[in-house]
């Protein structure tokens, strides 16, 4: 069974902007897929559909299937249990006063007991390297720590699919390296929208290139990103790391 199946997904914002124009693709369980494309190509809009946050009215139900189940207003709870979404701006996601409270938010919504919630918070903070940060205020964390806390908050819901929107933007090189290592250790199916092409090469075997709400290319990351013509035509570039991997 596919972890994710999207068939002819279209979406138009209220101001008339056509964000997605008939997107179709499938992701197998355990796959790690990079979603690349220039700003405004529809990456973030697509990610919001995977969690059932868009469309507002689920009239186009059936376009997105999570583990065979079509996303509809009736099964949103199930969908959100299965798909964990890490947002681009950590300040949007960390809405509780302390790190522990924020990580506990998901488990509490899932109806876990106090003891189970505390254990899960501890486990997830350890997973992202934030043990001992339980009582820290979310607004006084560094950007890298905020990113980790966001990931812990999503991991606490134990999702089978992890969807990340620009996970390494605004991180310093060490933060980026550590965050990538952390992602690599996670066994869940991963869909990562990013401008960090090195991340795509290092973590994702498969890449989908999106532009103007359409899929331009879908294939092996190394092959697609080596295609300089394709990259330049869609606001991207051949990553430096490929020059080292396949020097001409």
């Amino acid at each position: 069974m596919n972890a994710l199946e999207i068939t002819q997904l279209k979406y138009r914002y209220r101001d008339g902007t056509e964000a997605l124009r008939g997107i179709s693709f499938r992701v197998l369980p355990g796959e790690c897929v990079a979603l690349l494309g220039p700003n405004g190509s529809g990456k973030s809009t697509l990610l919001l559909h995977l969690n059932g946050l868009l469309p507002e009215k689920k009239s186009e139900a059936g376009a997105v299937k999570i583990f065979g189940e079509a996303v509809s207003s009736a099964n949103l709870e199930l969908v959100r249990r299965q798909v964990g979404l890490v947002f681009q701006d950590p300040d949007d996601q960390l809405f509780c006063p302390t790190v522990a409270e924020d990580v506990a938010f998901g488990p509490q919504q899932l109806g876990l007991s106090e003891t189970e919630t505390v254990a899960r918070v501890k486990h997830c903070l350890a997973q992202v390297g934030l043990s001992g940060f339980e009582g820290r205020s979310t607004q006084h964390l560094s950007h890298g720590e905020k990113r980790r806390a966001c990931l812990a908050g999503v991991l606490a819901c134990d999702p089978r699919i992890l969807v990340l929107d620009e996970p390494t933007s605004d991180l310093d090189p060490r933060g980026r390296r550590e965050f990538k290592a952390m992602l690599r250790r996670l066994p869940a199916t991963k869909i990562i929208a990013t401008h960090d092409l090195e991340l795509a090469v290092e973590l994702c075997a498969r890449t989908i290139v999106l532009d103007h709400g359409e899929i331009i290319a879908d294939g092996r990351t190394g092959e697609l990103l080596s295609d300089e013509k394709l990259m330049l035509a869609h606001g991207l570039e051949r990553p430096h790391i490929l020059h080292h991997l396949h020097p001409h």
């Binding site: 709870e77 959100r80 249990r81 947002f87 949007d92 960390l94 006063p97 919504q109 607004q139 819901c157």
Partner: protein
């Protein structure tokens, strides 16, 4: 005004800071109710509360100057309301009593806020039978006040860096633009926060 403005706590924690937040909140609410319900002619009661509060400040080794500075920020609002009492016959006495009572209530609130972290107060409120929507609203307000303050500070700096010609009228016009922009950004952020909450199962 940056986010640090809101963090203005008295950084010399004493016994008052260490006291249980629930007890402090209870005493503060009790005192405020007592002052509000006390007839304005009973100046003895008001004097007793004043002495009690000053005693707490001295015994708790809290910086008086710091408390007064915070109280002064609120004073224009107090005067804006109490000055209306001057319009009635014998208004001066009413004005005086009203000013005294309002300042006592505000002083109690300021004292509570500088000796008790807001997150502790929220925790107490969430355990009491206070409507959850009220506690959630306060929690989110406390969390995002800092983010918005930082955002307005960044916008102010960006504006200042490109303001070459200065003039009061021009400044006011710019301020209104920035405020409008901040409002739009705040509502967009609210939408994104709501989505982030829904993504983690908010019902």
């Amino acid at each position: 005004m940056g986010a640090h403005h809101f963090h203005a706590h008295d950084h010399r924690p004493g016994w008052l800071h260490r006291g249980p937040a629930g007890l402090k909140l209870g005493v503060a609410v009790g005192l405020i109710l007592f002052v509000v319900l006390l007839p304005r002619t009973r100046t003895g009661g008001l004097l007793a509360v004043t002495i009690l509060l000053l005693g707490v400040v001295v015994a708790g080794r809290i910086s008086g100057r710091f408390l007064v500075r915070r109280l002064l920020v609120l004073e224009p609002f107090v005067l804006g309301v109490t000055v209306l009492a001057l319009l009635q016959p014998g208004g001066l006495l009413v004005f005086g009593a009203l000013l005294w009572k309002t300042n006592l209530c505000l002083f109690t609130t300021v004292l509570l806020s500088v000796t008790t972290p807001f997150t502790d107060l929220l925790r107490v409120l969430s355990k009491l039978p206070v409507p959850w929507i009220f506690v959630t609203t306060l929690t989110l307000m406390h969390r995002y006040l800092f983010v918005l303050a930082d955002e307005s500070e960044r916008m102010r700096r960006a504006r200042a860096s490109r303001t070459l010609v200065r003039g009061r009228r021009f400044e006011w016009k710019l301020l209104s633009t920035v405020l409008g922009q901040l409002f739009v950004r705040a509502s967009e952020r609210a939408e994104r926060i709501y989505r982030a909450m829904c993504a983690r199962g908010w019902k």
